[in-house]
Amino acid sequence: MKNTTKIAGVGIFLLIVFVMVPWAIAASGRWDFYYTLTSVALLSIASAGVWLTFYIGRINIGQGAYTLAGGYVSAVLVTQAGVNFWLTLPLAGLFCAALSVLIGLPILRLRGVYFAMITLVLTEVARLTALALPITQGAKGITSIPLPRELSLFGMTLIPDFARLENPKLAFYLMAVILMIASYAALYRIVNSRLGHLCRSLQQNEELASSIGVNISYLRVLAYAISSFYGGIAGASFVAISQSIYPSSFQVADSVNFMLNCFLGGLGFVFGPMLGTLVLYFGWDLLFTTGRYQLLIYSSLLIALMMLLPNGLLSLNQLRGKGMRK
């Protein structure tokens, strides 16, 4: 794609999320869509992290563990230490990144289904840990977390107090979208940098990369840490919106969904997880009207999609012979 079309695409995207969507919601009065879209934006941040681990050739079904950890870090800091939410957001991400280095060092030596299995187990272990530790208050969870406070620098208000806003839904939507754009911009930058090229070499053949002199163990831990950082941030912001967190807030099904988002959008495309999250989450939401058949229809569609398009939504492009977008 040429630079001008790229810039135009980004411009159209920004116009849609910042002008068209709020306008359409105000016009239609469907304020509940803000919550849905906020969730999509936040979940797509976590999915972006999963995508990055796919990028180094690992199937990661453990993102739920880091979103849960990030959520708890933020919740505990806000409720028990009285820290401002905006400060806990990066702290949650850093905590998850540090945790993932510790966990990643041994498990990143595993590949293929082995890595997939251990990350899935990790999600369940995170839930059990949250149930067992005293600081997370077990199954009761942490509830009635205050809304994000004002963030000011040298007396200048950067972000207003959410509790005093007349429309916190819109504020949360804007916050989530800005976070999402920043995350994807960073991801795009990573993928198109030297680091990204090295990651691609890992995806193709680790032994070969290593023999050429790529420090593979450092790289994969780095990629995994970035991925978990994304998970932590998404989890922390989710907690701010729902104002509560329980051990079951993020569980195995969520981890699997993060992986599905990436697959569905297509793994060869940075913005794939965003598309996948949007389609899956909205699909799930729209099926809400079908009541108790929701899961049945959803899973049938998923299976049908896998049968027809086993290589992701973006493989439609390839079928038409247009080649991959870049």
Binding site: I118, M259, L295, L296, I303
Partner: protein
């Protein structure tokens, strides 16, 4: 101490049976069956329906579970996995399909059997009591013995029957097996059916003791994954070893760590990570098998 060991053996026998099915499917098709836990739950509900609703004897219920799950497993392989494996470029696509099937089975179980906890009446009453050092209800002993008998039967089947030999050949080298005249498609279906059947049988066995509910599927899959990571994926002896090791660790952990709250699985996971750091392929697995 005797009590802990007996509990561990009993748990281990169940676990090994679940892990066997999962590892069989993995070794034949290179598919990680996410829906294994759901198949186990389905098996439990079939037995419950036959025994409690229709009033048939327990053994009929167990057979019904085995047959139902074998049919379901065979159909899933024949019409879903085979198609996707043929069409997709990446091996991981089957994982996605398996996840979809897990959701699907969850939905079917929810609609057909509801979300209540179900159980069947005890099959035999009474408690075995050895001087208060070892206390074990008779039905647990029976179920444990049945599970061990099933494991033995499975090993004999894999070792000595033609079908078993064909499946072992397939697991070793798919192409070579095909060249030697093994009907790959037929034995893949059979293997998947057998794996699903084992899951269903464990469900049928355990419904008499712990009962069954919808939420048990996911955690069961996760335990099965842990077992085959301990033992090594795709290796039958590894699955059995993994099952008994996890059963034993759970039994010991529940007793020793009881004072610190419910952290048994956390401890097991930490141990597993340390273990995998030294031996990524598990006890008996081939490296990157």
């Amino acid at each position: 101490m005797e009590q802990i060991l007996a509990n561990g053996l009993y748990l281990g026998a169940q676990y090994a049976l679940i892990a066997l099915g999962l590892t069989l499917i993995f070794s034949l098709m290179n598919v990680l069956n996410f829906a294994h836990g759901q198949m186990y739950v389905l098996g439990g509900f079939v037995t419950y329906t036959v025994v409690s609703q229709l009033g048939m004897p327990f053994i009929v219920g167990l057979l019904a579970s085995a047959v139902t799950l074998a049919v379901v497993g065979g159909l899933i392989e024949r019409y879903l996995f085979r198609t996707v494996i043929r069409r997709s470029h990446r091996e991981e696509s089957t994982m996605l399909l398996a996840a979809g099937i897990a959701f699907f089975l969850d939905a079917v179980i929810l609609l057909a059997f509801g979300e209540k906890q179900r159980g069947v009446p005890k099959i035999i009453n009474g408690v075995f009591n050895w001087d208060f050092r070892l206390i074990m209800p008779y039905d647990r002993i029976l179920i444990g013995a049945l599970a061990i008998a099933l494991i033995a039967a499975f090993i004999l089947f894999m070792q000595y029957s033609t079908a078993g030999r064909a499946m072992r050949a397939l697991a070793q080298d798919r192409v070579a097996a095909q060249l030697m005249g093994v009907d790959v498609n037929r034995y893949s279906t059979l293997g998947f059916a057998l794996g699903a059947m084992l899951a269903g049988l464990v469900g049928g066995l355990l419904v008499t003791i712990t009962g069954i509910n919808l939420g048990m599927g996911g955690p069961t899959s996760i335990k099965a994954f842990m077992m085959i990571m301990i033992g090594g994926a795709g290796v039958i002896s590894g699955a059995i070893a993994g099952g008994f090791i996890l059963g034993m660790m759970e039994s010991v952990g529940l007793t020793v760590l009881a004072a610190y709250g419910d952290i048994t699985y956390l401890a097991i996971f930490v141990l597993l990570m340390v273990f995998l750091a030294f031996r990524p392929q598990g006890l008996m697995g081939k490296p990157w098998g």
